[in-house]
């Protein structure tokens, strides 16, 4: 079992490093700095940290104003509150004018668990990907998180990065090199490709191991940059394996599956299946219980791969 490391902690530590390197880095939070781990930055740079209280709309606006004046603001809260609670502010104060604001949210998906529906972020990727100009990243582990945060800090434009409450198994080695906008081949394979983001990358790798024992040779792609998506990698996977399964901790509508399907419908249509939450709200439970209840396990991916391979001509 690979080591499990917190993506939030990786974020907090990276913010501190960035803060030391660049005095223009500033950080905002909405009364969740102990959970998002922006408190690490706040402790070292209290003058460059702004706790906006429980007021996400205002936080987004202040971040936009700081960015318009040459600062590089990172604004954080839970993924269920940004962009959902302040969508119009993200749209008009950040996206339209292309402000250099980095929205980094934690507690993505349903792995938040016991807090229940009000805290499950299952629409955030759909909302944020709908906004022109946003770069959207969903890291799969702490190593990728640290590098993605660094890439956001050094690349101009609005970014959304979605992190996680539970610690995640490391799926990348220390020699991993995150490339913005590029898919990562986690495993080669010829019969079908599983494309996954975030928590589902580790689950996809587990599923691929199981499929191997059933003589099915699956490719696994990690797609950390959800937008702009790596079209070339998608087309290559479709051409070479002829079947695609997407896996994400998000509603089926509007996330990874929708984005991949749109690209392939235009460029290289192949049979597809979608492992995601099906048009419903999840309830309270442990992460593991919820993944099982809402169809986000290796077993669900296995089933989807079998289905999609049957549909191959």
């Amino acid at each position: 079992m690979p080591q499990e490391v917190s993506t939030r902690e990786a974020y907090g530590k990276t913010l501190v490093e960035l803060g030391r390197e660049n005095p223009d880095i500033v950080v905002l939070d909405a009364d969740l700095s102990r959970s998002t781990m922006t408190q690490l930055f706040a402790r070292e740079f209290p003058g460059r940290f702004f706790d906006c209280g429980i007021a996400e709309q205002n936080m987004v606006g202040i971040a936009a104003g700081l960015a318009a004046s040459g600062k590089i603001p990172f604004a954080s809260t839970f993924a269920v509150f940004v962009p959902g609670r302040c969508f119009d502010q993200v749209r008009m104060s950040i996206a339209q004018p292309r402000r250099n604001v980095k929205l980094v949210t934690t507690h993505g998906g349903i792995s938040v668990g016991e807090d229940g529906t009000s805290h499950h972020a299952i629409e955030d990727l759909s909302l944020i990907c709908s906004l022109p100009g946003f770069t959207v990243i969903v890291p799969a582990d702490a190593i990728e998180t640290a590098q993605a945060v660094r890439a956001a800090a050094t690349t101009y434009g609005p970014f959304y990065i979605r992190l996680w409450r539970p610690k995640l198994p490391l799926v990348n080695g220390e020699d991993y090199h995150f490339k913005l906008g590029k898919a990562v081949t986690m495993r080669q394979g010829a019969d079908a490709t599983i494309i996954a983001i975030g928590t589902m990358v580790a689950v996809a790798l587990e599923a691929a191991e199981g499929l191997k024992r059933q003589d099915i040779d699956c490719r696994v792609l990690n797609m950390p940059t959800l937008k702009p998506v790596d079209e070339a990698a998608l087309i290559k996977a479709a051409v070479e394996t002829g079947a695609i399964v997407t896996a994400e901790e998000h509603l089926e509508h509007g996330g990874l599956g929708s984005i991949v399907a749109q690209v392939l419908a235009k460029r290289q249509p192949v049979p597809m299946e979608f492992v995601a939450i099906k048009d419903t709200y999840a309830k309270s439970g442990t992460s593991a219980e919820l993944w099982q209840r809402y169809g986000l396990t290796a077993k669900d991916i296995n089933k989807a791969v079998h289905t999609v391979i049957r549909r191959k001509k």
């Binding site: 500033v26 003058g47 702004f50 906006c52 936009a64 318009a68 600062k71 119009d88």
Partner: protein, 295 residues
């Protein structure tokens, strides 16, 4: 310098030769009165030509904008992104015709361009778009967002040890938006004293009088309770406005709000206090009458 002895460094007839110089305009009251009239005429002409737009809430804020752009702000019309400029942020983005008129009169872009308002490919969008128009700091129109943005700009000035000041114009109806009060709380909490909010308090919103649609009173007490220094002026009195902006510069440790009591549609008889002209342009006949009144 007494207000009446003001001197405008900018020729009023050839506003475009300011180059990248600081616009150190200290227009006199008489000059500002003339400018205000011109801005009103532009608003009528522009919205009339466009066939749509928001004349009412533009006309009510004419004196506020005149004093800011021709007396208070330190800015360079030929260098709109000048790092040390004072920032003016129009939060009530539907008053775009007024802002465009002032920017054109200062020389940010040709006055002729005002007639392209709301046309396809124009730099002058129906509501402000900072990606298109020189001198526009923020894309607005979705109400309630300007104060938060202004706080960020003010905080950046403090962090960068820059001495620019930030002015943000809100509508009174706009203060229905909860975000305004999130911002009001935060501005006082962060003690941003390089920030001045001005409320164009014309008493009306689209559906009628504020007091009938959504009562804001006691309005000044609300701002006070949120920790602001509150000034109240007649928003059509150039001298009172000028003095209020000067006073605001002396207030330290807290933000200042200037509640400017105004009349929606001010200056055009049939538009005054008439909510119909919130979002309706004058027709050709009405333009003619209005311009005659504004001679």
């Amino acid at each position: 310098m007494p207000l009446s002895e003001g001197k405008n460094s900018l020729s009023m007839t050839s506003a475009n030769n300011a180059k990248a110089e600081v616009f150190s305009s200290v227009a006199s009251l008489a000059e500002m009165e003339a400018i205000a009239k011109r801005l009103r005429r532009h608003i009528i002409t522009m919205t009339g030509k466009a066939g749509s737009g928001h004349p009412g809430g533009s006309l009510s804020a004419v004196e506020i904008i005149t004093v800011l752009y021709f007396r208070v702000l330190r800015h360079k019309p030929k260098d709109p992104c000048w790092r040390d400029r004072d920032r003016f942020i129009l939060s009530k983005g539907h008053a775009a015709p007024l802002l465009y008129a002032a920017l054109a009169e200062c020389g940010y872009f040709p006055v002729d361009e005002l007639l392209t308002l709301r046309q396809l490919d124009s730099r002058l969008q129906g509501h402000t778009d900072c990606t298109l128009t020189p001198g526009v700091e923020m894309s607005a129109g979705a109400l309630g967002q300007g104060l938060s943005f202004a706080i960020g700009v003010a905080l950046a000035g403090r962090l960068n040890l820059q001495d620019y000041r930030v002015y943000v114009l809100l509508g009174d109806g706009e203060c229905d938006e909860g975000q305004v009060w999130e911002g009001a709380m935060a501005a006082a909490h962060f003690k941003v004293d390089n920030l001045v909010a001005i409320v164009d308090n014309n008493g009306q919103q689209i559906d009628g009088w504020n007091r009938d649609v959504m009562n804001l009173e006691p309005f000044n007490k609300k701002w006070e309770a949120f920790g602001w220094h509150v000034l109240e002026v007649d928003g059509h009195d150039l001298a009172q406005l000028t003095q209020a902006f000067e006073q605001a510069k002396l207030i330290k440790g807290k933000p200042t709000v200037i509640i400017a009591h105004t009349i929606k549609g001010k200056g055009v008889s049939f538009m005054e206090n008439n909510p119909d002209f919130h979002g309706k342009a004058p027709n050709a006949k009405e333009v003619e009458i209005a311009l005659r009144e504004l001679e």
